[in-house]
Amino acid sequence: MISVIKAGPLTIVQDCGRPGYAHLGVPHSGAADLPALLRANRLVGNPDHAAGLEITLLGPQLRFNRDARIALTGALMPASLDGKPCPHDQALRVQSGQRLKLGAAQTGVRGYLAIAGGIDVPAVLGSRATDILSGLGPAPLRDGDHLTIGELNEADARPKPATTIDAQPKLRILPGPRTDWFVPGALDTLCRHPYTVTPASNRIGVRLGGPPLLRIVESELPSEGLVLGAIQVPSDGKPLVFLADHPTTGGYPVIAVVVPEDISKVAQARPGSQLRFVL
């Protein structure tokens, strides 16, 4: 059992999400930087699908009411246990009564905390993930909440490698499905100039500032299915990259899709930072 002394601005339960329900309008959801959560789970010996915490920009303060094994991955947030600094990217032993305090992310946007046994909240459609678009899953953590930890269920897997958080990440893209809705030079424009992450970004999608991408087809696009990493371009020409809580369908054309291996980089890109797209 964990007591939430301070929740932080957006600390939510996440796991691998709820695939297979897009035809019902249910977003996939799951950790925005999934490799980081998987790494944390493996460091503490959890199965991949165990639920952990996704911590956005500023960390919570948690009191552990029993012994636990934990790991912190993703964005680098200064962490301390009863005031003593503790390292990132490795399994840590916590003793009953100890207080974990996480500070502001120094690089990146989202940190992950895995606890051996996983966070035990009711699953919705097979997942404990909080979906901020549809509202499915548990509510974000609030001061005074209590979290139950599940029984230990040791899995045997080597940890995934830690990812370095790039200051100006390069995002590989695959053209389509609607590249032909744009002027011939649009992909070129997208790849030649850096785009800036605007503050109007969240785990639904990252809105970018930069040279607008101009359309050649003026008619309305009947809404169609969307995939993770889709670069959608609304009427103003400014691209938006979809993340974990993206809607299942959208009515604006998608010029290209970021490859799955580079989604983490989008999820960790701070407002004000620049992204470069690469074919």
């Binding site: 035809h23 249910v26 919705v124 169609e224 299915g225 969307l226 995939v227 369908t249 998608v254 899709v257």
Partner: protein
């Protein structure tokens, strides 16, 4: 049918009509390849996500398409009170009386064409021409759960309270979406729908 790539494991199949989307969807459900994670129908397309896409791309053009309702398509009857805030306006827009609107809507058999916008939000096709109205100029910041609405070629029911721009003609107390229920949605693509209503 046109095939367009959607990332490394997505295939967008653009269809000529909603009828073709439904045929394709029914066909794929019957012979669902194990590696497909998502099959997402929409107004003029079907998005496939998962493995085996190269083979599907090759086989789909020649696949005999399922005609008629999707296997196991059930009929859901929606009790509705036609007391919607936009009923009068819809009547004005279409040159009819509210009673005409109610009679027409409640005598139509709809079909769930696809879902989107929110979990359990079903786009119901089969709306007669004389009931087709545009979305509201200014969407509402809050539409009540269970609101029965019209926009373009579709009717719909808001599964939970949310912002919305459709024209509201009535309300139902039937919970079309319940994430704790199995199945969570009463309305899935292919479901036939009738509204049983009365004016307030």
């Amino acid at each position: 049918m046109k095939f367009l790539p959607a990332g490394h494991n997505g295939l967008l199949v653009e269809c000529e009509s909603l009828a073709q989307v439904r045929q394709l969807y029914a066909t794929l459900l019957r012979q669902r390849p194990a590696e497909l994670i998502e099959i997402v129908p929409a107004a003029r397309s079907l998005l496939l996500v998962g493995g085996g896409l190269d083979r599907l791309r090759r086989d789909l053009p020649d696949m005999p398409l399922q005609n008629g309702p999707e296997a196991g398509a059930s009929l859901v009857e929606i009790p509705v009170t036609y007391d919607g805030e936009d009923l009068e306006e819809v009547a004005d827009l279409t040159g009819q009386t509210p009673s005409d609107i109610i009679a027409l809507h409640s005598s139509t058999e709809f079909c769930v064409a696809f879902c989107g916008f929110a979990p359990g939000f079903a786009y119901l096709s089969g709306l007669p021409e004389s009931l087709r109205v545009p979305r509201r100029q200014t969407p509402r910041t809050r539409v009540e759960t269970g609101s029965v609405a019209l926009a373009g070629e579709f009717s719909g029911i808001y599964p939970r309270s949310s912002p919305g721009g459709w024209q509201i003609i009535g309300h139902t107390t039937l919970q079309v979406w319940d994430s704790t229920r199995d199945p969570p949605s009463l309305l899935v693509p292919g479901t036939r729908v009738r509204f049983n209503g009365h004016s307030s």
